[in-house]
């Protein structure tokens, strides 16, 4: 009989302990709240009608499908341009189109508001030019602006996923088609498209999922006229206090997202096997006037789509506008106003407080997400046979809507000292659920890429295990952890869905404050909302810029 050495046993225990950290966290803060949401359907009273489920469900699917279609129309040509051509400023343009990915929904909503809203740039300009008394463009609170914001948000996914697949496409394939007599159109339809199909499907499902669970955009830009499952859960919970209905809607929402997530996972697994690395397309300079015109127009369109809301937001935040005289001038009042309690009211919180709250929550989120993410990465490395299983469990919160998560927290943690009134740490905990998979995704591949013999070399050269870890592994892992931490920071700063359920009236975060200010009338509120959104934009932009500057093992440019 073999007797295990005590040291081996100890290692076994620590392995499983590592794995317990994320597991316990998920059970406590994800599975139990989710279970409570489902239980609430039977345990609570409240009126339930089928039409009030069907209507938001129908609209959710409709707007998500339409948004996805439009995202394809914008994203596929852009993916083509990025994967096939070289042009001046390509790097900057790529960074620009990636920016929305990390922008909080409230910032995007504020941006489109500053561009197209009744107090927005375009309307002010048109009113001034034609002496109009009311804003001529009224796109706010229409389906149009919802679709526009979704396209703005998700085109980057399409460009990333489809663009990288397209550039990795074996160059021989389309040429083999041409030599066999296929015209350029036939090559596209019969060779390129079928080869890109898995990536197009994967990107499409991901975009659909994001549009389906979109919350902030619908609430802030769509207004009360449009309700999706997400906003309906919010309304039923916080306005109608009909938790039963909210629970049922959450269940419908969960079922839908689960179906899409499973489909996505399947498509994605297939995608990995169809690409042959190494013989990808080499981007060329555009030749001929048709190509140059096409590239030029594409770039112009992308710049307009991606820069105009962001730029409008920043500029509009430093311009004051007097409706009576029609004069606009430069001002920093919107920023200085952030520091004063103008209204002296009990529930009014000066914006600077909200900013400090956000920072505090973000720092806590970073700490928690790093702890969980790194522990999970090590657990995965030590227990490779369980990696797949761990992976899918950890990704579950990402596929769950933030609103459902918020609702779950609200119902589960309802007694002091662990209710939302007395335990604000619930907010960073909710953020951590969304953020720590990003830490894991940054750290795990890097950890796995450290070759065993690097550590062995250290040992043979006389270093103790602890020294080997400190001198060899820690420096490599810490860079990945920094990237993951920055993601967690940006995610926490911008999170709106779950926070809108959990933030105490006197303890709002920046996104919550922006939402409040935007939904109140008056030029001052509007200006300050834009100033806060600009602040958030700058913080998230800085995080993004840092992430882009840190090279990681295993990441690939396209």
């Amino acid at each position: 009989m073999m007797i295990k050495a005590p040291a081996g046993k100890l290692r076994d225990i620590t392995r499983h302990l590592l794995w317990l950290i994320p597991l316990l966290f998920l059970v406590l803060f994800f599975f139990i709240p989710l279970g409570k949401v489902l239980l609430v359907m039977v345990s609570r009273d409240g009126s339930v009608s089928v039409p009030s489920i069907i209507k938001p469900l129908g609209f959710t699917i409709w707007q998500a499908a339409l948004s996805t279609l439009l995202t394809f129309i914008v994203g596929v040509p852009a993916a083509y341009v990025f994967s096939h051509f070289r042009f001046i400023g390509k790097r900057s343009l790529r960074l620009l189109v990636t920016l929305p990915f990390i922008l909080p929904t409230v910032v995007v909503a504020a941006g489109f508001n500053a561009l197209l809203g009744p107090h927005g740039w375009l309307n002010l300009l048109l009113m001034n030019a034609f002496n109009l008394t009311s804003p001529p463009i009224s796109i706010l609170n229409t389906l149009g602006v919802i679709l526009l914001a979704h396209v703005f948000y998700n085109s980057s996914i399409l460009i990333r996923v489809v663009g990288s697949a397209w550039s990795a496409l074996d160059v021989d394939m389309p040429e083999a088609g041409a030599v066999l007599g296929a015209s350029p159109l036939q090559v596209f339809l019969k060779v390129t498209l079928p080869l890109l199909k898995p990536s197009l499907l994967a990107a499409g499902l991901l975009v659909f999922l994001f549009d389906f669970t979109s919350f902030g955009v619908i609430l802030l830009l769509g207004g009360p006229a449009f309700s999706t499952l997400e906003t309906e859960i919010y309304t039923q919970t916080l306005s109608m206090l009909n938790l039963r209905m909210a629970g049922i809607l959450s269940l419908v929402q969960l079922a839908c997202t689960l179906v899409v997530t499973v489909l996505y996972a399947r498509v994605n697994a297939k995608r990995a096997t169809t690409l042959k690395p190494g013989k990808g397309i080499k981007p060329q300079k555009p030749i001929g006037s048709t190509q140059k015109l096409f590239i030029g127009l594409s770039i112009l369109f992308l710049i307009l789509l991606f820069i105009s809301p962001i730029l409008s937001l920043v500029i509009r935040s430093i311009i004051s506008f007097d409706a009576a005289s029609g004069i606009s001038r430069f001002t920093i009042a919107n920023y200085t106003g952030l520091f004063t309690n103008a209204r002296q009211s009990f529930f009014y919180v000066p914006p600077v407080r909200a900013a400090l709250n956000s920072l505090g929550f973000a720092i806590l989120t970073v700490a928690l997400a790093l702890l969980l993410g790194i522990a999970t990465a090590y657990a995965q490395k030590r227990l490779p046979q369980k990696k797949k299983w761990i992976d899918s469990v950890i990704m579950l919160p990402l596929g769950t809507s933030a609103v459902t998560l918020g609702l779950g927290f609200l119902i589960t943690f309802n007694k002091p000292p662990f209710d939302i009134a007395s335990f604000p740490v619930l907010i960073p905990i909710a953020h951590t659920l969304i953020a720590f998979p990003f830490v894991l995704r940054s750290v795990a591949p890097v950890l796995a890429s450290i070759p065993r013999n690097l550590m062995d070399a250290g040992s043979i050269l006389g270093a103790s295990p602890w020294r080997v870890w400190w001198n060899v592994e820690a420096p490599i892992v810490s860079r990945a952890a920094l990237v993951g931490g920055l993601y967690a920071f940006a995610i926490s700063l911008g999170e709106f869905g779950a926070t809108s359920f959990l933030a105490r009236p006197d303890l709002p975060t920046l996104p919550v404050a922006i939402y409040r200010f935007l939904s109140q009338p008056g030029e001052t509120n509007y200006g300050q909302a834009l100033a806060m959104a600009t602040l958030l934009l700058v913080l998230c932009g800085m995080a993004m810029a840092l992430i882009e500057r840190i090279p990681l093992a295993g990441s690939r440019e396209y």
Partner: protein, 350 residues
């Protein structure tokens, strides 16, 4: 009879000239082996003929028709890619059917033709397989079936056997030769393997420095390489410079002594001309020292066993090292005398 004529092709790659005024011709029923080092522009030439790339200068002409404005898909030329470029989203039969679909043939006609094409390469049983499941040799056969099924007017093959192991390569060379001759169309076969080129080619075109430096039947190329580079590329060894000292009999005087050559090599020579000789490393005869012509003397510096004998390196003086395969193994350091028959000497014009 169909003829492809390529004239004065110039093509740059990364700013440096790759093809430099290249010209060649190939006719129906003929396999032209395009032979050259890797990176010499062989594949690029095929791509230019196929219409996938455009030369800076020069013409591709099919039966008198300039193809400059004919795009790849209308040229009706077949091209078999080096790693076959089988479509991963289509099974074996669907791959072979691709070209026929592009012709707009009816479905039943296509499946009939696909069946015949696959039978011809002994892949009939694989019709419904995924191409990812095929071995290298099977992929090669499917790629050939796909190229031939489309009934091209001309077929180009880019190193079709390079990805396969040696024994399979030897087996497929014969098969391929039969298939290609049966097709009866002009064939351009690109390879960097001299042995393969000799087995398959009716003619060899040797590409060097962006030009065809020699274009002849394989026998002719081996009997009279156009220059020192070609001779070395073909694997010839033991080069020694000399001067024609007599025209009849043809005798060349070198540092090593006088060598009598085959009289047939005398064309184009005259007494006093500088030439280079290459002595075949095989079939040299070890003899006792007699002072006469066609003799190489030297000291053994190395002796290593090979499958066909002992590879002996000898120092022939004047800093000339030579290699010969002998059936005996003389001790290192001992002197040796070899007799080289006139038929074993190749003459290169300087």
């Amino acid at each position: 009879m169909d003829t492809l004529k390529v004239t004065n092709i110039h093509k740059e790659y990364d700013g440096a000239p790759l093809l430099n005024g290249l010209s060649l011709e190939v006719h129906s029923g003929e396999i032209l082996c395009l032979l050259g080092r890797s990176g010499s522009g062989k594949s690029t030439l095929l791509r230019i003929i196929a219409g996938l790339e455009h030369p800076e200068k020069g013409e591709v002409v099919w039966n008198g028709e300039n193809l400059a404005n004919t795009p790849a898909h209308l040229r009706k030329f077949g091209l078999m890619f080096q790693d076959y470029a089988l479509f991963p989203h289509r099974n074996v039969a669907e791959n072979v059917a691709f070209g026929l679909e592009m012709m707009g043939l009816p479905k039943n006609k296509i499946s009939e033709m696909v069946k015949i094409a696959l039978e011809r390469v002994n892949m009939g049983a694989f019709a419904q397989r995924s191409v990812a499941e095929l071995s290298g040799g099977e992929q090669q056969r499917v790629a050939l079936a796909r190229a031939l099924a489309a009934q091209p007017r001309l077929l180009m093959l880019d190193e079709p056997l390079a990805a396969l192991d040696r024994s399979l390569r030897l087996e497929l060379q014969q098969e391929l030769s039969t298939q290609l001759h049966q097709a009866g169309i002009p064939v351009i076969y690109v390879t960097h393997d001299q042995e393969e080129a000799v087995i398959l080619g009716d003619r060899l075109a040797i590409l060097h420095d962006g030009e065809i430096v020699q274009n002849d039947a394989p026998r002719q190329v081996y009997a009279a390489p156009a220059n020192r580079w070609v001779a070395e590329f073909l694997g010839m060894k033991n080069f020694v410079g000399g001067q024609v000292s007599s025209m009849n009999p043809l005798i060349v005087t070198t540092f090593l002594g006088e060598f009598e050559m085959n009289q047939s090599l005398a064309t184009g020579l005259k007494a006093g001309l500088n030439v280079t000789l290459s002595f075949s490393s095989e079939n040299a005869k070890v003899i006792d020292a007699i002072d006469s012509g066609n003799i190489i003397r030297g000291t053994i510096t190395a002796c290593n066993f090979r499958e066909n004998g002992f590879l002996v390196t000898l120092d022939a003086g004047h800093e000339i090292a030579m290699e010969f395969v002998l059936q005996v193994a003389p001790p290192v350091g001992s002197p040796i005398t070899l007799e080289i028959l006139p038929s074993l000497i190749i003459l290169l014009h300087d």
